[in-house]
């Protein structure tokens, strides 16, 4: 368990104030925030690269605030590869294994196992400079795991990768987490948080703005800033079904008794669907439309927000399932919308974005 208590650190014109959070064993904890919110400073403090002005960091109950980096058993993985360019991939992965009494063959075995798990057995002799971004990051992760850290710190590990490598590293990270590794992942990209995290802390302006599960943060953001930063109010966890025979890309996604139509070519499995509030249309009556997602329910909230009105409709059967639509003032009066009125919400399958995890 990693526990961060009332950390303060001031730099000229910048700093972090009174940051506290706890990461339990087996959690995948994401520290989410815009650039300059103080995420990286927090990470450096936990890793031991920077000392806090006050506050403490506890790992498994032991105060490690003043501990030397090399004794903390906290491994770092950076955005850009930090592989040692003068060593082969094998030597890089073996680096944390040497000088601690292991025999040559023990090291060989462990590296071979890791290379197999992380799928770079064919690259062991390669130089890091010759690897692609995704390969580099796989090796970096293997090297970090090789040291058997108590906690794995990831600093925007997906930011500099292309879409397909990103997908691959995401599933690797899910596996590492599933093996019981405590992970703290720092990012500014909410899709990473959705796709990977069990818990999220949102940082805003040097402070923690909200801590909670993904559902809590996305569906009940506690401030205007968080709502705007995470960007998407309509967020549903559920299960993507296998494609039906016939070869169409239209797929069904089941969540709490409802089924959404989404366009995706991802394999079936757990995941989330997100819909931008701007993409949701409200009508008074159902009519045949090309939009594949049509649900009826009562309006539970109408709130003006910058440049429009946010209308929340509960489309759940039995259990509440809220969906938000941002529409114009004119539409509210034209459709005579009011609290409690039963309406239809409509959005296109193309507007429903599926993210695995």
């Amino acid at each position: 368990m990693l526990s961060v208590r009332q950390i303060c650190k001031t730099y000229p014109g910048f700093g972090i104030k009174d940051v506290s959070f706890e990461v339990q064993q087996c959690e995948y904890f994401v520290l989410l925030g815009p650039t300059g919110a103080g995420k990286s400073v927090m990470l450096e403090i936990i890793a031991g690269l920077t000392r806090p002005d006050s506050g403490s960091v506890l790992l498994d109950g032991r105060d490690i605030t003043g501990e030397k980096i090399q004794n903390r058993r906290i491994s770092l993985v950076f955005q850009s590869s930090a592989l040692f360019p003068h060593m082969s991939v094998y030597e890089n992965v073996a680096y944390p294994l040497r000088w601690c009494g292991r025999t040559r063959s023990q090291i060989d075995q462990r590296v071979a196992k890791l290379a197999d798990d992380f799928d770079f057995s064919h690259l062991l002799e390669a130089r890091p400079q010759t690897l692609s971004g995704g390969e580099s990051q796989r090796v970096s992760l293997a090297r970090a795991v090789a040291s058997e850290p108590r906690c794995l710190l990831l600093d925007e590990p997906l930011s500099s990768l292309d879409a397909s490598s990103r997908c691959e590293i995401r599933s690797l990270l899910r596996n590492i987490s599933a093996n019981g590794q405590l992970i703290l992942h720092v990012t500014h990209d909410y899709t990473e948080a959705v796709s990977l995290s069990t818990h999220i802390a949102v940082m805003e302006d040097a402070r923690i703005a909200q801590i909670g599960t993904v559902e809590e943060i996305f569906q009940h953001p506690q401030s205007q800033f968080i709502a705007r930063f995470v960007g998407i109010r309509n967020f549903f966890k559920g299960r993507l079904k296998a494609p039906e025979a016939g070869g169409t890309s239209l797929r069904h996604f089941a969540t709490d008794g409802l089924s959404f139509s989404v366009l995706t070519d991802r394999p079936a499995g757990q995941g989330s669907v997100m819909v931008r509030s701007e993409d949701v249309t409200i009508t008074n009556a159902a009519s045949p439309t090309s939009a594949r997602n049509n649900f009826a329910g009562p309006i539970v909230d109408i709130a003006p927000i910058g440049g429009g009105v946010e209308v929340i409709v509960d489309i759940g059967h039995g259990k509440s399932l809220e969906i938000a639509a941002i529409i114009t003032n004119e539409a509210v009066s034209a459709l005579e919308l009011r609290l409690g009125k039963k309406v239809w919400v409509t959005f296109k399958a193309a507007a429903a974005i599926f993210i695995e995890g």
Partner: protein, 267 residues
């Protein structure tokens, strides 16, 4: 007009080339003239001269020994200068550059005041049976004093260019700072360190003023050349000079190539 590059034929480039050619001529002409004034038999005879051979060996090994010895202390200092901030860092950098600015003859005198039999260090050394004066130790001291800044500055720049990210990663993987220094920082800064050592060695080999003051004997080659010049004239000195220049250049080029080759294997 259309067949030549607009970028290559402008008159500025021509002027630069003409002036540059003059500079190159200024460097090449004296050296060529010196080499051409010696016949091959003369050179062969000089190469067989025991005194010349002994002085060239002495010059080579003392300058190399001075470089290697200094490297042990200077490389960690360079790392400190590249990585840490401490009070008076600017002053320390200034002190390191002093030997470059101070005239070599004056540097020789300064060393002499410390190691002469009358001085504290000289007396102490004398008691345990070491004499600096007239010893190759004194030659090394003089060489090291005037040339160590080249090594420190080059190594410092080399360490500064190693991404700190890599050192941080190594630390977080459980390696202690010594291991990180030896397995990450030094190998990655190897090129500039080696290049600095070559510079230091070349500079030490060519030193004359300081060595002349502190250790006229045993005679290193620059002193030998001077002695022959003042005793017998240009004719007798120039074959030694040509031979020594050739030795310097061969070693310099070979070391550079070895260092360059290492780079290709590494990166």
């Amino acid at each position: 007009m259309r067949s030549t590059s607009a970028l290559r034929t402008d008159s500025l480039s021509l002027l630069c080339a003409a002036l540059g050619g003059a500079v190159l001529l200024f460097i090449i002409a004296p050296l060529a003239s010196l080499c051409l004034s010696c016949s091959l038999p003369e050179l062969a005879e000089t190469a067989g001269d025991d005194e010349v051979q002994a002085s060239i060996w002495l010059t080579l090994w003392t300058s190399m020994a001075a470089t290697v010895f200094c490297a042990v202390a200077a490389i960690p200092l360079a790392y400190l200068l590249a990585r840490k901030d401490f009070p008076l860092k600017g002053l320390v950098s200034g002190i390191i550059d002093l030997p470059v600015v101070i005239p070599h003859v004056a540097a020789g005198l300064a060393l002499l005041t410390v190691v002469s039999r009358g001085a504290a260090l000289g007396r102490a050394a004398d008691k345990i049976g070491i004499s600096f004066i007239g010893n190759s130790l004194a030659v090394m001291l003089a060489m090291a004093f005037v040339s160590v800044p080249y090594l420190i500055n080059s190594a410092r720049d080399g360490f500064a260019a190693v991404p700190e990210r890599l050192e941080k990663a190594a630390l977080s993987l459980g390696a202690n700072p010594f291991r990180v220094f030896l397995t990450v920082s030094v190998p990655l800064a190897a090129r500039p360190i080696i290049s600095g050592m070559i510079m230091m060695w070349a500079r030490g080999m060519s030193e004359f003023g300081a060595v002349m003051i502190i250790a006229y004997r045993p005679m290193i080659t620059p002193v030998l050349i001077f002695e022959r010049f003042s005793a017998f004239g240009l004719k007798y000195a120039q074959s030694v000079a040509v031979l020594f220049i050739a030795v310097c250049l061969v070693f310099f080029v070979v070391l550079r190539l070895l260092a360059g080759g290492k780079k290709d294997a590494q990166r």
